[in-house]
């Protein structure tokens, strides 16, 4: 039987209250959102907080809002809400692609975007998605709010820029006209962590050439976008030959580890193949959305 070590439990009633509780209880306090990463770690005694601060009552952080050129996602927005949102599917299909393969529907009822990003598991899908979409994390602490681009927010496996006395409260994703995106993951079975996954976001100019592109990889040891593909793709009309070239660059840029999910060469192969696939899908979706606008 897996039972967490003893701790004290308190429910936060607002963001300010959560920050005050973090401040009061100090280094051995942890915030719990959906709990589907932290509770398993506590059950295995990999995490042993003295205080657990439950933020599930912070409904003020559960929202999806198109605010001019930005989609604002509250940190307590559940995976299920993201998956079922028409705005998200329309603006950022990569989020729906990823959400469909994050854990299983029941876990998605509890898990939150904020929890996923703060856990920063190396096989976590939304970190890659947010890198690819060039999201900005809004982090609040005693000294006020900080706006952190993903590259600053996400420091590496299980590590973010959120300090012990701070809370991630919102994720902001820029909306670009003529853009589309895609995500694809290979997993051993439903709900498992990725063997490898890739995401891409593409913006097409009026003449059909690629004006902006971002590619990211999950679970293969690359904690940043595959910036190497930009020089190859930007300014070009999308073609299969370019996707092949980008796939090769992705497989060279990543740094996977051999584990029970597969050897290194297999994971590099997946980085290559999945990069090609997500670029193909993102470009065809972008072309469709551009023709929708012009027709």
């Amino acid at each position: 039987m897996q039972i967490p070590a003893p701790f004290d439990y308190v429910r936060a009633s607002s963001v300010d209250n959560a920050l005050a509780l973090l401040d009061r209880h100090g280094a051995e306090s942890r915030v719990v959102a959906g709990g589907h990463s932290l509770l398993p770690m506590m059950k295995l005694r990999l995490a042993r907080p003295d205080w657990l601060i439950d933020i599930n009552d912070l409904f003020e952080l559960d929202y999806l809002l198109v605010d001019g050129p930005v989609l604002r996602i509250g940190a307590m927005t559940r995976h299920t809400t993201l998956l079922e949102s028409d705005d998200v599917r329309h603006l950022f299909p990569i989020i729906c692609d990823a959400e469909r393969v994050i854990a299983d529907p029941i876990v998605r009822n509890r898990g939150t975007i904020g929890g996923s990003l703060c856990q920063a598991d190396p096989a976590e899908d939304l970190s890659t998605v947010c890198h690819v979409l060039e999201a900005v994390a809004v982090v609040r602490g005693p000294a006020g709010e900080r706006m952190l681009p993903m590259a600053e927010f996400h420091r590496g496996p299980y590590e973010t820029a959120v300090a012990q006395n701070e809370l991630l409260i919102e994720v902001r994703i820029p909306i670009r006209a003529g853009s589309a995106s895609a995500y694809e993951k290979v997993e051993r079975r439903v709900g498992d962590w990725a063997v490898a996954a890739a995401g891409a976001s593409v913006t097409l100019a009026a003449d059909g050439t690629i004006s902006h592109v971002a590619v990211g990889l999950t679970a293969v040891g690359l904690e940043r976008n595959v910036t190497e593909v930009e020089a190859v793709l930007v300014g070009q009309a999308p073609t299969e030959a370019l996707f092949v070239e980008a796939g090769l660059l992705a497989s060279q840029a990543c740094d996977p580890l051999a584990d029970q999910r597969g050897p290194i060469d297999y994971k590099r192969h997946l980085a290559d193949e999945l990069t090609r696939r997500v670029l193909r899908v993102a470009c065809s979706r972008a072309a469709a959305s551009v023709s929708e606008i012009t027709s």
């Binding site: 897996q2 003893p6 439950d54 299983d104 709900g191």
Partner: protein, 168 residues
């Protein structure tokens, strides 16, 4: 700490340790052993209960987190002697063999049908994809849930009759 919640329509208050998981609170404190305790790692789904109408894996929710919420377990599915259509469906279509996964499967099915009364077989498979059955190969579970979708009024009609009898 003290928690209060509504379980299967009954309001209960108990003194618990904050580290108690919802599955153990339901089974050991409330003695509602219809909720099964399986893998303990939120993979198998036999511990699924409804929290405010939504399926959750109760091995990965603290009882403290359920304070103030409404829980439905398999014991709360039937209305007296009248089975929920989902329970009837599992009987009609042989949706179980050993029965270990059944409580969780039926609660997920109930939540699915509440949300989507006419699911396609693929939608049913997606809904139960976080739950493991080692006996049936899932085919009869999918058929059981389809049976329930096709017979939504059976239980309701019988309940109405029964209520009328009681009133008379």
């Amino acid at each position: 700490m003290q928690i209060s919640l509504t379980i299967n329509g009954t309001f209960v208050t108990r003194e618990i340790e904050p580290r108690v998981l919802l599955v153990h609170f339901i089974r050991d404190d409330l003695r509602l052993t219809g909720t099964h305790w399986g893998c303990d790692t939120s993979n198998c789904g036999t511990c699924v209960v409804l929290m405010d109408g939504q399926p959750v894996k109760s091995c990965t929710v603290l009882a403290a987190m359920a304070d103030g919420h409404t829980i439905t377990t398999v014991e709360g599915l039937a209305n007296g002697a009248t089975l929920d259509p989902v329970q009837q469906g599992f009987m009609e279509e042989h949706g179980l063999q050993c029965g270990f996964c059944t409580p969780g499967m039926m609660l997920t099915a109930r939540a699915l049908l509440d949300h989507n009364p006419h699911p396609e077989p693929l939608e049913i498979r997606e809904a139960i994809s976080g739950q493991i059955c080692r006996c049936t190969g899932y085919a009869t579970i999918v058929r059981s849930i389809q049976w329930a979708a096709e017979h939504p009024l059976v239980a309701a009609a019988e309940t109405t009759e029964k209520e009328e009898e009681v009133r008379a």
